[in-house]
């Protein structure tokens, strides 16, 4: 507890990005990003293709390395230190556009892999937890199947459950529904809405599902060309967008 008290002030912000810059070779993909995320906050990030949304959230768990500026997670700066990084990653779950389930493992083994090998949870306990989350994403009957035998929507729900099994403090979503057939999008969104409304979980979600943003987001962030152009509450963002580029973007995706 003393550790927590000491960091109480900083702990208000579970993630801080300070003047974050990243280049791919000569290409400046993230430009002076400043973003503070409070514990339990639900943030939706949107913007045109290629604007750097994926890169931004992938920097948080260091799947991409930034070159300038700072990322501070729970009061500790993210550096190349691999031990710290592994610790951060156990607390930051991520869902990918293409699910990235492990095709050689059953759904159950997908869910228990990290708890057993990272958290050293006993197998029985890990399986009980896995079952709990499979029930939450409404596919407990698929536990013994392989990912290849599931539909896209089911796979993405498994992927969400897999992240939740690690009991993370932060969940990152990178366009979790954009690889899905239209009729499967809602089943995944429902799970995400439920997770968001339950509260407590910090969520950063790259998505173009504006309905989701309106329903659960505390803040919407609009990115273009590697910059944060606008950030606001969903109400303001959708009804009263300030920048021209935001207006253009909204007019394109809503109509």
């Amino acid at each position: 507890m003393s550790e927590a008290n000491k960091n109480a002030a900083v702990n208000d912000y579970i993630i801080r990005m300070i003047n974050l810059n990243k280049w791919y070779g000569d290409f400046h993909v993230l430009k002076d990003i400043n973003l503070d995320v409070k514990q339990g906050e639900r943030i939706v990030i949107c913007g045109p293709s290629g604007s750097g949304k994926s890169t931004l959230i992938r920097c948080i768990n260091h799947l991409e390395e930034h070159q300038k500026g700072q990322i501070v997670i729970e009061g500790e700066e993210l550096t190349g230190d691999i031990k710290h990084l592994e610790k951060v990653r156990t607390n930051v779950g991520m869902c990918f556009q293409h699910f990235n389930l492990f095709p050689h493992l059953t759904i159950m083994d997908n869910l228990t892999l990290a708890p057993i090998w990272v958290r050293k949870t006993p197998k029985a306990e890990a399986e009980a937890t896995a079952m709990k989350y499979l029930e939450r994403v409404k596919i407990p009957d698929q536990a013994d199947k392989f990912p290849g035998q599931l539909s896209g929507g089911q796979q993405q729900r498994v992927a969400i459950a897999r992240s939740l099994c690690m009991n993370p403090k932060v969940m990152l979503f990178d366009e979790p529904t954009s690889a899905l057939d239209p009729e499967m999008i809602s089943e995944v969104l429902d799970v995400m809405v439920e997770l968001a409304e339950e509260g407590g979980m910090t969520m950063l979600c790259v998505t173009h599902e504006m309905g989701f943003a309106k329903q659960v987001a505390d803040r919407v962030i609009f990115m273009d060309a590697g910059q944060i152009i606008e950030e606001n509450t969903p109400d303001e963002f959708f009804n009263n967008p300030q920048s021209e580029r935001t207006q253009l973007f909204l007019s394109q995706i809503i109509h």
Binding site: I82, N100, F102, L113, W117, V118, P147
Partner: protein, 367 residues
Amino acid sequence: MYVTDKILPAQPAPSDTKGPVVWLKENLFSSPLNILMTLFAVYLIYLLVPPAIQWAFIDADWFAATRDGCSREGACWAYIANRFGQTIYGFYPEAEQWRVNTAFLMLIVLCIPLFINSFPKKMWLGGFILIIFPFIAFFLIHGGSFGLVEVSTDKWGGLMLTLIISIIGITLALPLGIILALGRRSHMPIVKSVSVLFIEFWRGVPLITVLFMSSVMLPLFMPEGSDFDKLARAMIGIILFQSAYVAEVVRGGLQAIPKGQYEAAVAMGLTYWKSMFLVILPQALKLVIPGLVNTFIALFKDTTLVLIIGLFDLLGVVQNVLGADSKWLGFETEGYVYAAFVFWLFCFGMSRYSMALERKLHTGHKR
């Protein structure tokens, strides 16, 4: 507008789409060219197979104490039968051969549970086979302690030697090859260049050269009087040589695994090594089973090359020991056919096993 409530019942397939006659018609006699090729193939079979059967079975002599007992019309399998022991054990003393049998039997018995799906604690058994069993086998076959007479490695030979070299070669070349493959894909420049150098060096030299170097040149560099076993030297050469090939096969598999798999693994907090062993390698190795088995079959057959450094494997025994026996001169053909058959049997076994393994590991994620 068209609507129906009637569900049509399934009917049996029409008879002209199945059956052996239809199959023949469709596959062997479908066109003039096809008919011609079929007839030609039948003619070839007629030309080759009956005489071979005549020689190998009908006219063959199976029992005879000396060469005079063989009629010379067909194969003289009596010759092989008489020297069978030597093709299996080389010069291993007859009184001690039970030790070899025990070791191999032990290995087989230990391995059986690995193929039973429901067997618990496979990891422990596998570890025992890989780490403890080699010592047991060595003490059994080599002896020299626990009251067992020492049988030095220059007495080992025949199929036993072939199997010992291949089994040890495969079990050590595989992990070494995997490490090299991972090394070659590493982002650390030193690790990467060492792996590349190693792989390219061993792939660049013929195995014969490696074996020559191991037995002729290596002793020159070693301190006077140090006596490093010839078999061990050859074995190290073979392992290093084959690991380079294994490495390239495995690398092919690693490249086929999408980056997202690794990202998903490390994003959950798995370390590099755990990601590799739990997520990436199981998928990559499964993909390259055909290539790996190819390499292992090559290794198995390449063991015959140890002949040139004075070790007598199955083929070596057949060619140089049996062939040099003045009492049984003139039966080289039988010897080679026998050796070829034994080699084929093992290679075919490996190939079938790999196919079964691929089927078993298939988890239906192909789309």
